[in-house]
């Protein structure tokens, strides 16, 4: 549960990004970044804006050149291959459909760019449009389509050339929530059927969790952790990952004693216990996933004053009054009523569920 020496990377190597560094106007965006994706994997780059995830995507696509390092595809270096010869398709944020072309012409673009004659693209275009259930819209203008339809056309346009790799830059961000969830399920099934290797860039953790086999959480140009969604959630390797993926109770504290691998941590709300190899005197961040907390006494117990009880349908969130950057959050299944603001209650959880990170700086 300490800062990892290096992030976990994939075992099989279809796409390899090795030691890549990039600076814009002297400002370092990323340095010495390694990233490996296996064939047929659906992977997400997840992080806040400015973390370098879009830059990494653009470097893989060949739209931005790296200052240092290599990009390999199936063992072959493509670092110096121009973007239009990489056969890596991109679905852009807002889709970047060509406004002067019809739906069918947009989809046929990749084939035409590869020199295929106009009158021979028909069957492939029809097949691609069928795949995304847009065959009835072939002759429409793209401006006449809704956001979801535009996204389908963008996907058909990207897949018709049978790319070796599909990159998607915030593909769902322009859609409303309901449609977003439908499109995620649909797209994932489509990519699985075709055994497509795909990398999604997103700042939305639900989206990343929903569509990917593995998620690379990025922060300030580094990959903090690269793992399956369940691992990220249950065993975040850094405080950043814990914070960025899912919700948590999060407290600042200081280690006062270490005995048999168990830490005693002093917080503003009392002394708590955790595990790890942090020296005495170190400042730490302590975290617990909210559904692992019970509103009753446990191995670790906090006295909490209720700030709010939010009924979310399938669960109820209990927010405690906390200071500074701390957060006190407990989730109980189902609907709980009758919990008024100001109620005193206890948050209890086990030592094993306590995540401890040495604070930076």
């Amino acid at each position: 549960m300490l800062q990892p020496a290096h992030s976990e990377t994939g075992s099989d190597r279809y796409l390899e990004v090795v030691g890549v560094g990039k600076a814009f106007r002297g400002t370092k965006v990323m340095s010495d970044l390694d990233f490996r994706v296996g064939q047929g994997e659906l992977v997400s780059l997840l992080g806040p804006s400015g973390c370098g995830k879009t830059t990494l995507l653009r470097i893989v696509a060949g739209l931005t050149s790296a200052d240092r390092g290599d990009v390999l595809l199936d063992g072959r270096a493509i670092t110096n291959v121009p973007a239009h010869r990489r056969n890596i398709s991109v679905v852009f944020q807002n889709y970047a459909l060509f406004p002067h072309l019809s739906v069918a012409e947009n989809v046929a673009f990749g084939l035409r760019a590869r020199g295929q004659a106009k009158d021979t693209t028909g069957p492939s275009v029809r097949e691609a449009l069928n795949l995304v259930r847009m065959a009835d819209f072939a002759d429409r203008r793209v401006s006449a389509l809704s956001g979801g339809q535009q996204q389908r056309v963008a996907v058909a346009r990207a897949l018709i050339v049978e790319p070796v790799l599909l990159l998607l830059d915030e593909p769902f961000s322009a859609l409303d929530r309901k449609l977003r969830e439908t499109m995620q399920v649909e797209l994932k099934a489509l990519l699985r059927d075709r055994d497509m290797t795909a990398i999604f860039v997103t700042h939305d953790q639900d989206e990343a969790m929903g569509v990917s086999d593995r998620i690379a959480v990025m922060n300030a140009g580094r990959i903090e952790q690269f793992a399956a969604p369940s691992t990220l959630y249950a065993q975040p390797e850094t405080a950043f990952v814990m914070d960025f993926v899912g919700l948590s109770t999060r407290l600042a504290g200081k280690v006062t004693d270490v005995a048999e691998g168990e830490l005693r941590i002093e917080t503003a709300y009392g002394t708590l216990r955790g595990t790890g190899t942090v020296p005495v005197g170190a400042r730490v961040t302590l975290g617990v996933r909210p559904e692992l907390i019970q509103p009753q006494e446990g191995e670790n117990t906090l006295e909490v004053t209720l700030a709010d009880a939010m009924v979310l349908g399938s669960k109820t969130q209990l927010h405690g009054v906390a200071q500074d950057n701390d957060r006190l959050l407990c989730e109980v299944p189902g609907i709980r009523t009758g919990l008024a603001r100001g109620t005193r209650l206890r948050f209890g959880w086990s030592v094993a569920d306590t995540l401890v990170y040495e604070a930076e700086g």
């Binding site: 060509f98 406004p99 002067h100 990749g110 760019a113 203008r141 401006s143």
Partner: protein, 276 residues
């Protein structure tokens, strides 16, 4: 809201009134002058104009010069507009100043400048001779080529700026999308950049063509009287020949061409614009 919108329309009244008195009224008078003889409505003047081979030659030359000027301006302006659309900061300012500043220099000054460059012992001939490309000075001034080069220079901003304006608003991810779909530089240009910039090209061509077809000062100073254009004929009819009917007739021919260009180009622009 509707009443208020109607009242806002009144703001256009001073401008419209000014145009009506200063521009529309004399124009109507002029058109009437061309279509009547001794108080009778007649198209005899037009018949006379179109049966004279000399007039047809002038008409043809005017159209040819305007067309070639537009073409030359387009060839020079298009790459310039691309560079401007990609320029940022100080470079963009430099480009814009370079486009706009020459417009504040009178057209007479620019035409004279070209005549200095083009004349027999002018700058261009000196350079050509010192490089040994030619032994004798080449006759450049008083030629149609000189006129086209000079006119394209003067009207260049009117071609660059509309194309630049369209390119500036173009979504930068469209060429990138084309690249990731396997489009090389040529395919990208002819299937994405060029079609998307066409509305700007049409507007620029309409501007330059209508300016070039009616230019007077530039041909007067660069080619002189030997090779007349319609505008020069109009001036001569009114000022020297005192033949108002002929002048009015040529004026309306010129006007019809200009109106056709403006209408045609706005229809074309609307069609191209309607696709997006």
């Amino acid at each position: 809201m509707r009443a208020r919108g109607d009242r806002i329309g009144f703001l256009a009244v001073p401008g419209l009134a000014f145009l009506a008195v200063i521009y529309a009224l004399p124009l109507v008078l002029l058109l009437f002058r061309a279509a009547q003889i001794d108080g009778q409505v007649s198209f005899a003047e037009y018949r006379l104009f179109f049966t004279d081979q000399y007039n047809l030659n002038v008409l043809w030359r005017t159209l040819r010069v305007a067309f070639l000027t537009t073409l030359l301006a387009l060839i020079i302006a298009y790459p310039t507009a691309i560079a401007m659309a990609r320029a940022r900061g100080i470079w963009l300012s430099l480009f814009l100043v370079a486009m706009v500043l020459p417009m504040s220099v009178g057209v007479v000054v620019k035409a004279f400048a070209w005549s200095i460059l083009f004349r027999t012992r002018g700058v261009l001939n000196d350079i050509l001779m010192s490089l040994g490309i030619t032994e004798m000075p080449i006759r450049m001034l008083f030629t149609e080529t000189a006129l086209i080069i000079g006119a394209a220079n003067v009207f260049l901003p009117f071609m660059v700026l509309p194309i630049y304006a369209v390119m500036r608003t173009m979504d930068g991810r469209l060429p990138e999308a084309a690249v990731t779909l396997g489009a090389g530089p040529y395919f990208r240009f002819f299937h994405v950049t060029l079609p998307l910039s066409l509305p700007g090209v049409v507007a620029g061509c309409a501007f330059v063509f209508s300016l070039a077809i009616s230019m007077y000062v530039i041909p007067s100073l660069i080619v002189g009287e030997q090779q007349q254009t319609l505008s020069m004929m109009i001036a001569r009819s009114f000022l020297y020949l005192r033949n108002e009917a002929l002048g009015a007739t040529i004026s309306s021919v010129l006007l019809i061409i200009a109106v056709a260009v403006v209408l045609g180009s706005s229809l074309l622009a609307a069609r191209l614009g309607g696709q997006r």
